[in-house]
């Protein structure tokens, strides 16, 4: 699988994503600099990593979505290319309308950094095809603006269309207000576009994918993508 990792000013999970894809999963991995458009035709996957692109000024992701590389990524996504946005990358994908909805400040008003459980809601996507139905993954979150919002009508539409891929839950897979860390509507932790080739999530799978560190639950998302390429 040929992967590209986008580097914005303020990205800080770019090296983690690069490490997992290149050194742990042995995939061909390249950097993509935000200032330049790129020919992505030969790529299988583009990752928008976490961090604080442009200092989160105005709104998280609002400035980054106008970077030159985003023109290439929008074209890539529209022609069926797979795009994964993690945390700040998710915020950028929402700002440029590749994904529906928005992310607002956590209900608690606090920056939350901890392991959470998420339940797989749809296994019929390139990002989750190796997961079991209702499988629970333990993945860390680290964000201040991670409360997913979409109007009730559109939330229903996402549900019916299988676009909700991850929901916050407890360790047994039960979804409740207590297991929702940030006040996201419908406990949504990750969504895909209608074509299921663009996905964004707030949890950080790249932070739990190296066996040297505690937990490898995040690997399954990358392995799903590899098996689909």
């Amino acid at each position: 699988m040929k992967c590209g990792i986008v580097v914005f000013p303020g990205s800080n999970c770019d090296h983690d994503c690069y490490h997992i894809l290149k050194h742990i999963l042995n995939q061909e991995t390249h950097w993509l600099w935000h200032k330049e458009e790129a020919n992505l035709e030969s790529f299988d996957l583009v990752v928008l990593p976490g961090g604080f692109s442009y200092g989160d000024y105005l709104r998280a992701g609002a400035i980054a979505r106008f970077s030159p590389i985003m023109n290439s990524i929008i074209r890539f996504a529209e022609s069926g290319g797979k795009v994964l946005g993690i945390c700040n990358g998710f915020q950028i994908l929402l700002e440029c309308d590749l994904l529906p909805g928005a992310l607002i400040q956590n209900q608690s008003r606090k920056f939350i950094c901890k392991n959470v459980s998420v339940r797989i809601e749809n296994t019929d996507t390139p990002f989750t095809l190796q997961c079991g139905k209702n499988q629970v993954l333990e993945i860390p979150i680290a964000h201040h603006q991670g409360s997913y919002y979409i109007d009730p009508f559109s939330l229903n539409h996402l549900e019916e269309n299988g676009q909700i891929l991850f929901r916050y839950c407890d360790t047994s897979g039960n979804v409740s207000a207590e297991s929702n860390p940030n006040g996201s509507v419908g406990s949504v932790a990750g969504v895909a576009n209608g074509g299921k080739n663009v996905m964004g999530l707030m949890p950080h799978p790249e932070r739990c994918a190296d066996p040297e560190l505690a937990g490898t639950d995040g690997q399954i998302i990358f392995q799903s993508l590899i098996s689909n390429s």
Partner: protein, 82 residues
């Protein structure tokens, strides 16, 4: 010309900051406070040929960048400067 722009959350979108300030004001004895909505205020200096042109361009700036219309609404006034 000066554009004075207000960006606020739409009705129904959770505003945790507004909620906290609301409670704080009630705790201070301002029982008449019914709701608090915290938003952003931007001042943009413009070199526009006319107010009509400024109106069109500022609206576009709000829609493209300054507000995320999924969650926010905006309003602005144009003030003449010498």
């Amino acid at each position: 010309m000066l554009a004075q722009i207000h960006v606020t959350f739409k009705e129904g979108v959770l505003d945790p900051q507004g909620k906290t300030v609301h409670h704080a004001l009630n705790d201070l004895g301002y029982d008449e406070v019914l709701d608090v909505n915290i938003g952003k205020y931007l001042e943009i200096k413009l070199d526009s040929a006319s107010e009509e042109e400024a109106e069109i361009r500022v609206r576009e700036m709000c829609e493209r960048l300054l507000a995320n219309t999924v969650i926010e609404s905006f309003r602005f006034t144009l003030v003449p400067t010498e």
